[in-house]
Each structure stands twice: as C-alpha cells, then as structure tokens.
C-alpha cells in the first residue's frame, strides 16, 4: 500500500489524478487536500493514523498557502523533512524549477496535456520509490521529462 498525498486546488486535475491512479496497477491510498493550510493540517494530524505519505504531489499555485510555503515548512519540520515531495505544476519555467529544487523538492512534473502522459508520469514517480532514497536528486534529473 502506497499512501499518496495530492495537494491541488483544481478539481479537474484532482479528478484526472485520481482516475489515472486507479488505472495504475498499484495499491495506493490517495489523500487529496485543496490548499496548503489543509495540507499542513492533515500532515500534522495523520502522522500515525493513517501513516505518513510515501510521496506528496504538490501544486504550487494554491490559495491560502501556496506550494512553495508548504515545501519550506515540510523541509523545516523534522517530522516531515524526509517525506518525498514531487512538484506538480502547470508551468515549468526555469526559475520555479530552480527554486523548488533548491527548496528540497525531489522531482518536478509539468502537468501533462493528456491522460496517457499523466498516467505515465505518475507511474514513473511511483516506480522511483523515492521514500527509499534519501539522497538528493541531481539537478539534471529533477525535471521529469516525458
């Protein structure tokens, strides 16, 4: 069982993600939160039951508390700092990618424009089994290309 968190305020994107995850041959439990405040609250409350997530897919542009703030808080908090974070954003401009890489995100995915591509990229992330690798991703492999 993989415990996966998705923080995204876009309902469509959440639906797409959920559908794709169901299609994947992986036993996964998806927890969706719609903004950063909710993410941090949920993370705080669900450390023991349910267990901490294997990976967090983090949108950047969210209301109340955006992805950058969440990433900072997660990496500053000793309890969460080992949780793999994959940025999941519409934009892939260099500055943003660099910024999140420096903040300690594990990977960066630009939201793809097709169901198949989305499926592929989520599968790729899950295949990486980031929770087993505490080492930092090299910059060249940070942005996951399809």
């Amino acid at each position: 069982m993989r415990y996966i968190f998705l923080a995204d305020d876009d309902a469509d994107d959440c639906t797409f993600f959920e559908e794709v995850l169901q299609d994947l041959p992986v036993q996964a439990q998806l927890t969706i939160v719609n903004d950063g405040v909710e993410l941090m609250k949920t993370l705080d409350e669900t450390v023991f039951e349910p267990p901490p997530p294997h990976v967090i897919f983090l949108d950047l542009n969210m209301p109340r508390k955006n992805g950058f703030e969440c990433l900072d808080e997660i990496r500053q908090n000793p309890r969460f700092k080992e949780i793999p974070v994959v940025i999941f954003s519409t934009s892939d401009n260099n500055e943003t990618v660099d910024k999140t890489y420096n903040q300690g995100a594990n990977h960066y995915i630009r939201k793809p424009g097709s169901h198949a591509a989305l499926k592929k990229v989520i599968a790729t992330v899950l295949d990486l089994e980031l929770w087993k690798q505490p080492t930092k991703t090299p910059r060249s492999k940070f942005l996951l290309m399809l």
Binding site: D10, D12, F16, S91, G113, S114, H115
Partner: protein, 748 residues
C-alpha cells in the same frame, strides 16, 4: 708738538671708533647675509616644491585631459551605440508591433547607459570643479611666486646697495689706513731724528762733562792758587807786622835819633821829616795791607764759592749726562746750548786763564806789594770786577742748566710718550692692517657671495620666467580645457536632456513592455490550464469513448487535439520568449560542453530517430546566462534536427573559440574586443540566402505548419538570447546545403 699729538690722538680715537662701528656694521651685514641666504635657500626649496606640485598638477591635468578624451570618445561611442540602438529599436518596433520586448532590453541598457552617463556627467562636473580649484590654486601659487620674486629682487637690490656701502667704507678705511701709515712713517722718521739728536746731545753732554771736569780741575788749581795767595797774604801780614815792629823799632830808633838829633841838630830835623814821611808811608802801607787782607778774604770766599759752584756744576753735568743719555731728541737745541755752554766754558776757561794770570799777577803783585800796593789795589779792583762777572756768569750757567734739566725732563717725558704712542700706533697699524686684510677677505667673500646671489637671482628669475611661461601655458590650457569642459558640459546637458527624453520614452516603453509581457506571461500561463484540460478531456474521450464515436467524430477529435497541441506550442514559445525578456540576467562562466550534453540528453529521442550525430569540438568556456544558453542551444539543435535532410543522417558540428573582433568579418563587432565565436553547422535542408535575416523574426516561418511544425518563435528566442548576451547572430545558408549559425558573444 702737543697739538700734533692731540690731533693724532683724536684721529686715532675717531679711526678706532669708525673701525669698531664698521666691525659692528660688518657683523650685522654678515648676519643679514646669512639670513638672506637662508631665506633664499628656503625660497628655493619652496620653489622646487611648488614646481614639483605644478609638475604633478600638470601631469594630473594631462591625465584628466586624457581621461576626458577617453570619456568623450566613450561618450561618442556610447552616443553612436545609442543612435545605433535607437535605429535598431525603430526597426524592431516596426518588426514587432505587438511585443516590444527588444525595447525592454534596450530600455534597461539605456537605463544603465543613462546611469553611466549620469555618473560620467557627475565625474565631469567633479573634474571641472577640481580643475577650477586647481586653476584657482595655481593662480594663488603664481601670485605668491610673483610676490616672492619681487621680494627677492628688493632684497637683492638692498644687498647690492649694502655691498656698495661696504665697498665705499672699505675704500675710506684703506685711505685712512694709508694716511695713518704715512703719519706713522713721519713719526718713525721724527723718532729717528730725535734719536740722532739725543745721540748728538749725549756727545755734547759728554763734552760738557769733560769741560766741567776741566773746570773743576782749574777751580781746584785756583783753590790751591788762592791758598798760596792766602799764605802769601799771611806772609805779607807777618812781614807787615814785622814791618810794623821794624817801624816801631825805627820809631824808637827815630826817637833815639831825635834825641840824638836834638843832640845833633840839623840832622835831627831832616831825620824827623824822613821819619814823618816813612810813618806816612807805613800808615799807607798798613792801610793797603788791610785792604789787601780784606781783598784776599773776599778772594778766598769767592774761590770757595767757585769751588762749591764748580762741584755743583760737576753734579749738574753728571745729571745732565745721565738725562741726556735717556733723552735723545732736542739734540739740535741742546747742541746749540751745548755749543753755547762750550763757548761759555771757553769763556770760563779764558776767564780762568785770566784769573790764573791775574792770580799770578797777584802773586807777583803781592810779592811786589811789599813794594807796590798801588798795583795791588788796581788788580784787586779788577779781580773784584772779574769775580763779579764770574759770579754773574755762574748764576747764568745755573739758570741755563736748570732750564736744560727741565727741558731734558720734558724731552724725556715726550720721548716716552712718543714711544708709547709709536708702539700703540704700531699695534693700531697692525690691527688696522689685519682689519683691512679681514675686510678685504670679507669684501672678496661678499663679492663672491654677491656674484652667487646675482647668479642665483638670475637663475631664479629665469625659473620664475619659465614658470610664468609654464603657468601661462597652463592657464591657457586650463582655459582651453574649461572651454572644452564648458562645451562638453553643454554637450553633456544636451545629452542629459536627450537621455532624459530617451529615459522618459524608455520608461514609458518599459512600462508598456512590462505590462505587455506581464499580460503575455499571465495570459499564456493562465491559458495553459484550460488548454491542458481541453487536451486531457479530449484524450480521455478519444481513448475511453473511442467506440462511441463515428469516424468523422474521431477525425474531428484528432483535429481538436492537433489544434490544442499547436496552441500549447504557441503558448510555450510565447512564455519562453517573454521569460527571456523579463527574467534576471545572471552571467556565469560556463562550460559549453555541459550545456550541449544537457540538450543532447533532452533531445535524445529525436537524435536517435533522426540518426543524428552531434559533434562538439574545440569548445571553450563562455560567460553566459546558463539557462538561456541552454534554451538557445536547444532551439538551434532541435531546429537543425527538425530541418534535417530526410535522405541522409543529420550531422551537426558545434565549435567555439575566442577570437579578436578585428579577425571576424562583421562590422557590428568592435575590432579591439575578444569574442566567443560559436558555430552551429548542419547538413540539413538549409534555406535561401535572402531569408537569412527574416528567419529571426517572431512568427516567421519558411514552411507550412503541416510540413514542419512550429510557431516561428524559436529563432526569435535565439536572437533574443544572443542579444541578452550583448552578442550578434548570423545565419548563412543555401537551399539544400545545410545552414550555419554564427554567434559572437563578448568574451569576459
């Protein structure tokens, strides 16, 4: 003589006072000269410093001039560049009505340029102020120099006057010394004459002493003669007494005879008469004898007096002799006196001889007195007269000898005084001679010092004249510089005004651009989400609802997917383009290999699909914005792959090297600068040469979207990135013969 001495003393006193005052004056003048020399030395030092400062100031001015020249040249270049950029802007504005993204860059550049110009203007203003200050300082320095030169000239004139006075005083002293020398020679001559006279007087005194000795002997002889006379007189008195006794006997005999005569008669009367006559003769004889006795006593007394006088004369002569030996001048007078004494002595001698004769005659007369008293009386009377004369003459001699003694004492005193005076004069002359030597030495030194001073003053005047000329030149150069600075100031103000105008325009354009870019970015970014959803939903339908769609429906969904894909490309490229224009430019030394490797990794699939080989050779490090350059390389390589010749495998050669602008045949490059020259050469389909400019335009495509996908933004982004690196890019190609892109980025 006393007046002469007084005059000489006065002259000596005045001469000494003058010498003393001249010494004081000399000491003061020497002190003044030392001070003047010190002042001159100090002023020389000050001049040297001032000259050094002026030299430094000139070097600084020259340096500032060079700097201004450079600055003006840079401004000129900057202006040309600005003009060039403005032209470029206009071209680009024409090219790109919608997005003046180039202007944004140029605006930034202008802003920087304007700041640089502002700084340059402030520097120029500062340099102008500095020049003004320097010019003021130079003017003050020149005034001070002029004042110092005037003071030196005055001092030099005063020194010349002082030297003339000294020379005049020296001449006067020399004259005075010569006069004193002559006076001394006279004194010496007079002293010699006096010594001769004293010697002569000594000889005369010796003669007098000799004569006095002779007189003493004569006087002693006269004393003996007088004793004999006294003895003879005693004998005569005895005889007279015997004669008296004889006469008494005769009288007794005569009484006897009268008695006898009475007895005899006649005879008796005759005898009485004869006796009366005898008695009368005896009485006469007794009277005479008494008179002779008195006369002899007088003679004896006179002889005694003469002896005393002679003894006194001997003592006086001895004294005279001693005094004469000490006193040597007055010899002529003494000689005369001595001659007179000689004459007097001769007279005395003659008188003594006469006295001796008379004494002899008296002896004879006394012998004859017994018989002839008459003769004695006469002789005695004559002797009395002669003695009186002698006494008178002796008195005269005493008076003379007294006078001579006083005269000799005076002479001796005068001689001593003269000798003292002569000794003092000798010392004074020696001192004068020494002082004259010293003065001559001093005058010679002063002359040499004056010549040096005159020479130094000449040199200083020359230097001052040279400095004056140099200062005038400096002043002229300063004026020229000020004029040029003023012209530059005017030009700068115009430039500043133009810059302000440009800045205003640039600011306006910048604001417009930012708004535009922000709009572009936001719109592009925000457009992505709905587009992605459309794409995703279409993909879900076409995969999951495939069976429910007609063939036409399926085709239409494919068309939606294609259009959406194109739209996504467009949005991506527009975002990239706007990002290139808006993001911060961070230059880093980067190895081009790394960037090319990254790009190759990114394009791995296409490369293998196209069977492409990418050769990266001779790559150098370059000062670039890494992520932009990655985009550039990505665009160019993907372009080369896209437009590869379908008939042969794609071969891309990338080279880079540092080259000098002068060796690169492009007029937009500065000949003196080094450039990193990057070439990307492919063997693809190429393009017709006249498109070499057009391909860099936004949305410019040479092929239909059906044959080659793309938005026509890729090369525009490339050009934009090259411009962000202050470089240029050119494309050369011929149709079907591949294309070559040359990029020139300033190295360092």
């Amino acid at each position: 003589m006393a007046k002469v001495k007084e005059l000489e003393e006065d002259a000596l006193t005045i001469a000494r006072k003058e010498i003393a005052s001249q010494k004081d004056a000399n000491v003061k003048l020497v002190a003044e000269l030392i001070l003047v020399r010190k002042e001159l030395a100090f002023q020389d030092e000050e001049k040297g410093k001032r000259a050094a400062e002026l030299g430094t100031a000139n070097i600084e001015l020259a340096y500032q001039k060079e700097e201004k020249g450079k600055r003006a040249a840079e401004l000129g270049i900057a202006n040309i560049e600005l003009a060039y950029q403005e032209e470029e802007k206009e071209k680009r504005a024409a090219e790109l009505g919608i997005a003046d993204k180039e202007l944004a860059y140029q605006d930034e550049e202008k802003g920087k340029r304007a700041e640089e110009l502002g700084i340059a203007n402030i520097e120029l203003a500062y340099q102008d102020e500095e020049k003004g200050k320097r010019a003021e300082e130079l003017i003050i320095a020149n005034k001070e120099l002029a004042f110092q030169n005037e003071e030196k000239e005055k001092r030099a004139e005063e020194l010349i006057i002082a030297n003339k006075e000294l020379a005049f005083q020296n001449e006067e002293k020399e004259k005075r010394a010569e006069e004193l020398g002559i006076a001394n020679k006279k004194l010496v001559f007079e002293n010699k004459e006096k010594e001769k006279r004293a010697a002569e007087l000594g000889v005369a005194n010796k003669k007098l002493v000799f004569e006095n000795d002779e007189k003493g002997k004569r006087a002693a002889e006269l004393v003996i003669a007088n004793k004999e006379l006294v003895f003879q007189n005693d004998e005569k008195e005895k005889r007279a007494a015997e004669l008296v006794i004889a006469n008494k006997e005769l009288a007794l005999q005569s009484e006897e005879k009268e008695k006898r005569a009475a007895e005899r008669g006649e005879r008796t009367e005759e005898l009485i008469i004869a006796n009366k006559e005898l008695a009368f003769q005896n009485e006469e004889k007794e009277k005479r004898a008494a008179e002779l006795g008195v006369a002899n006593k007088k003679l004896v007394f006179e002889n005694e007096e003469k002896e005393k006088r002679a003894a006194e004369l001997v003592i006086a002569n001895k004294k005279l002799g001693l005094e004469s030996e000490e006193k040597e001048r007055r010899a002529t007078e003494r000689g005369k006196r001595a001659e007179e004494l000689v004459v007097a002595n001769k007279e005395l001698a003659f008188q003594n001889e006469e006295k001796e004769k008379r004494a002899a005659e008296l002896v004879i007369a006394n012998k004859k007195l017994a018989f002839e008293n008459d003769e004695k009386e006469k002789r005695a009377a004559e002797l009395g007269i002669a003695n009186k004369k002698l006494a008178f003459e002796n008195e005269e001699k005493e008076k003379r000898s007294d006078e001579l003694g006083v005269a000799n004492k005076e002479l001796a005193f005068q001689n001593e005084e003269k000798e003292k005076r002569a000794a003092e004069l000798v010392i004074a002359n020696k001192e004068l001679a020494f002082q004259n030597d010293e003065k001559e030495k001093r005058a010679a030194e002063l002359g040499v010092a004056n010549k040096k001073l005159v020479f130094e003053n000449d040199e200083k005047e020359k230097r001052a004249a040279e400095l004056g000329v140099a200062n005038k030149e400096l002043a002229f150069q300063n004026e020229e510089k000020e004029k040029r600075a003023a012209e530059l100031g005017v030009a700068n103000k115009e430039l500043a005004f133009q810059n302000e105008e440009k800045e205003k325009r640039a600011e306006e354009l910048s604001i417009a651009n930012k708004e535009l870019l922000a709009f572009t970015y936001i719109s592009s970014h925000d457009l992505q989400e709905p587009l992605r959803k459309i794409q995703t939903f279409v993909s879900i339908i076409s995969s999951k609802e495939d069976k429910n769609l007609t063939e036409n429906g399926k085709y239409n969904f494919q068309r939606i997917q294609l259009a959406a894909g194109r739209m996504q490309l467009l949005i991506d490229d527009l975002l990239a383009f706007s990002r290139i224009a808006t993001t911060e430019l961070k230059f880093e030394k980067t190895d081009l290999h790394l960037i090319i490797e990254e790009v190759k990794a990114e394009l791995k699939d296409t490369i293998s699909e196209k069977h492409a080989t990418i050769e990266a050779i001779e790559l150098c490090e370059a000062n670039i914005i890494p992520f932009q350059f990655r985009q550039l390389m990505y665009n160019l390589i993907s372009n080369a792959l896209k437009f590869s010749n379908p008939d042969k495998p794609s071969h891309i050669i990338i080279t880079s090297r540092i080259e000098k602008g002068s060796t690169l045949d492009n007029e937009k490059l500065s000949p003196g600068k080094n450039y990193c020259h990057i070439t990307i050469k492919d063997n693809g389909i190429g393009f017709e040469p006249h498109f070499s400019e057009r391909i860099f335009g936004v949305f410019q495509k040479l092929h239909s979207k059906e044959t080659y996908a793309g938005t026509g933004i890729g090369l525009a982004i490339v050009k934009k990135i090259v411009e962000n690196h202050n470089g240029i890019i050119t494309a050369t190609s011929e149709l079907k013969k591949g294309a070559t892109f040359d990029i020139y980025i300033p190295a360092n």
